[in-house]
Symmetry: C2
Subunit: 453 residues, 2 copies
């Protein structure tokens, strides 16, 4: 006899949590489908050769590695083992690891299936990923990602479409959001203009902190990164960029006039903003230069979504990346994608209590069990109810009425059908509304009509 | 640059395969819900202490073990490592493993959440499991299980309900099946009657082969297992049991008259068969004594489903097990459950081509892209189409018409909307039916009406 426990950083999902999560996943899924994205799934395990080196040194450490089956120590010499070098040991004793994100497995999928795929390939994928992070509040070792990407198309209409998808999903979920937009090329342009192209990361990291630490500290940080005072002065109008999106674009055009790549970034942003004007987004789309998300990864648009009514990090993000599949031998395939953060969206909906009532509905009616004669009579009736699409249960034992009612109660079953001897003889059903406490004597047909949504 | 590969025994699922699998999962899920089962999910990883020793010695070997993160060799002495004992090494270097089935994690769930659960607890769970099997045709290292169980109720109405669920699922999937029913208590009774209660496994394994090897060989095998000729003679009427279910029950009642447990089994079967008569099953339910599934595990009813039109093993199975949670310190909780074999059902539906057309539908209409002016005009139109629930795409680049048409073709998009300069000026849409090749000039409203299912 052992006391059972759950792996730290992982979670069980109860029926209620599942209903809520399914509501979120179903919403995202149906919007993806509406925009023509097709679902794929990849295995939970990938060869470590596919995963290693794709997420930086820190990422390699966070991969869950699976010990080879069978005699996993057979191939080791005594010397190898006595070195006790866990990294080189794992490299030999483990061939497989758990998926760390959905992007690298997707890149592998595209390369391995390139002859079956008709490009541009619009795919979505909703699956768990695993990271050997130190467990902490709000950070899990197993969590779901909900990605959509288009690969094989350079068209900025894809960016426009993904922004539309974000808008539609959060509108359906009733979450007020602001979508922030930036472009990696503009960040490169800025660094170029101030004469420090190699400092693009330092500059962006510093600007990114504006909200938190204020302008003065940002400038201090820039100085500490060996940027000249002249360069920092040049940065000021860009850091303090204000006004409408088109005003910002005008300022940027002037500031970046001498940078080809910077102007290209402005042009891309202009295109995306102009096209979204044609389609009446329900939420705000804001040009935000402090957006630095995944800087070393993205090559064009950068997208991030903030919830307006809850203090929480970004709840969706994405962007354009060139050469997704180059590492697997298929160069020249550009991609752009987004990823909904299901766990944070779950938290937002919980905090704002935004789940529609019918998203958490379970059984509609419980038939009370008074004994074998009554339950024999009920079995064909409950079959008919189910045939009519009404989720129904009969309490399996003929225990005390009170226990059966309390089962209905704790399972949030809104109606209880009572068929005792009287009801049986008169072919009627006593239907009790558990919320109001009222009872009505109804025929089976009337009952079905009442119970239908 | 590396050539990517996939882990042996695992699979990618293409959009078409996903649509077909979702059709199966959605069918099972909606029937489970209709019968009042609630969904839960448990983590992919469990502590190995939860998993080890639950699936027999062979099962322990088939568990995928996850190497501890960080310095996994730090705790080992030189001596321990030099023993090169992979089993004891893994026991120390791995704390976690991948879920092997859904039953043990469910038992853990029930014990850990027993104070939140209102029993009887009817739960379903559709998740992947992993087994380090040698990969071979039709056997995968990652596959989905679709389980439903009721725990905390001894009532045989639960068995009746699960048989109804099986009937409903396969009726919805249009798969002709026969559900076979047996009872562990009858098998025990038989062994008792012939004076060899300890031989119940040998007897059942032998009888199980009747179909394949014939009566004579079965009797030879029984002899070889040290059963007396007298015992084997007594077995003959049971092995050769024929006729309707009620005839079989009559024979068994006579044969098992002296065995209390055997008669209890007959009584249980009688109850289940009588109740299913009240609800008009669409498929056959057959008492089959040769059914021996999971003998050491089940304690009452044993259920197995065979497809009638495809040669394949059992496509669904289940049964009653007492004391599911005893191993985790919560005794006295009886359970009964079934598990649909999604992969085999997938094969059956493929072989019989039973997927309804609308189960694999993707994008409904592709808008051809003739350039920026036309696509600007299309963007609000396509938004409206999507608002009307019509899954729509615009080809992201204004490439050759032929290429765009071939994209529609290979993605099975049934309609293409063509809006060139003429259509734009007259506010009309040329809608091409890709199957018939016919084109019609329609207003946006007419188009939407045509495209709606």
């Amino acid at each position: 006899m052992q006391k059972p426990s759950i792996v730290k950083g992982t979670r069980d999902f109860s029926p209620e949590e599942m209903a809520k999560r399914n509501y979120i996943f179903d919403t995202i899924r149906s919007v993806y489908k509406l925009f023509g994205y097709k679902q794929i799934e990849t295995p939970s395990m990938e060869n470590l050769s596919t995963l290693m080196g794709k997420y930086g040194e820190e990422g390699d450490k966070l991969l869950f590695k699976i010990l080879n089956s069978g005699d996993c120590l057979a191939g080791f010499t005594d010397e190898e083992l006595l070195q006790k070098n866990s990294v080189s040991f794992a490299a030999k004793a483990c061939e497989k690891g758990l998926r760390y994100d959905l992007t690298v497995p997707f890149a592998r999928y595209v390369v391995m299936h390139r002859n079956e795929i008709s490009f541009p390939f619009k795919r979505y994928q909703i699956q768990p990923v695993w990271r050997a992070d130190r467990p902490q509040k709000g950070r899990y070792r197993e969590f779901f990602q909900c990605d959509a990407d288009v690969v094989g198309s350079d068209s900025l209409l894809n960016e426009v479409e993904l922004i539309q998808i974000i808008d539609e999903v959060f509108s359906r979920l009733n979450v007020r959001v602001c979508t922030k937009l930036n472009n990696r090329k503009i960040l490169s342009g800025i660094a170029e203009i101030i004469g420090a192209p190699e400092k693009v990361v330092d500059i962006t990291v510093a600007i990114d902190k504006l909200d938190k630490i204020g302008l003065e500290k940002v400038n201090e940080e820039l100085l500490s990164k060996d940027l000249s005072q002249e360069a920092i002065d040049k940065l000021q109008p860009i850091i303090l960029l204000e006004g409408s999106n088109s005003q910002k674009l005008q300022t940027l055009k002037t500031s970046l006039a001498a940078s080809e790549i910077g102007l290209k970034g402005v042009e891309e942003l202009e295109f995306i903003l102009a096209k979204t004007e044609l389609i009446n987004l329900k939420s705000e789309l804001e040009l935000d230069l402090t957006l630095a998300r995944g800087l070393n990864y993205y090559t064009g648009a950068i997208i991030e979504v903030k919830a307006l009514d809850v203090q929480i990090g970004s709840i969706t993000g994405g962007g354009r990346y060139d050469n997704l599949t180059g590492i697997f031998g298929l160069p020249g395939v550009s991609g752009v994608g987004i990823s909904f953060g299901a766990d944070r969206i779950f938290d937002v909906l919980n905090q704002l209590d935004l789940y529609p009532k019918d998203s958490v509905l379970g059984t509609r009616v419980l038939f009370v069990n008074f004994g074998e004669a009554e339950s024999d009579y009920i079995l064909p009736i409950i079959s008919r109810f189910r045939q009519e699409g009404i989720s129904s249960e009969i309490y399996p034992e003929s225990t005390k009425m009170k226990k059966q009612m309390s089962y209905a109660d704790s399972n949030n079953i809104p109606y209880v059908a009572i068929i005792g001897e009287n009801e049986k003889n008169s072919h009627m059903i006593m239907l009790k509304n558990m919320q109001t406490g009222t009872q009505e004597l109804l025929s089976a047909d009337e009952c079905i009509n009442t119970l239908r949504y």
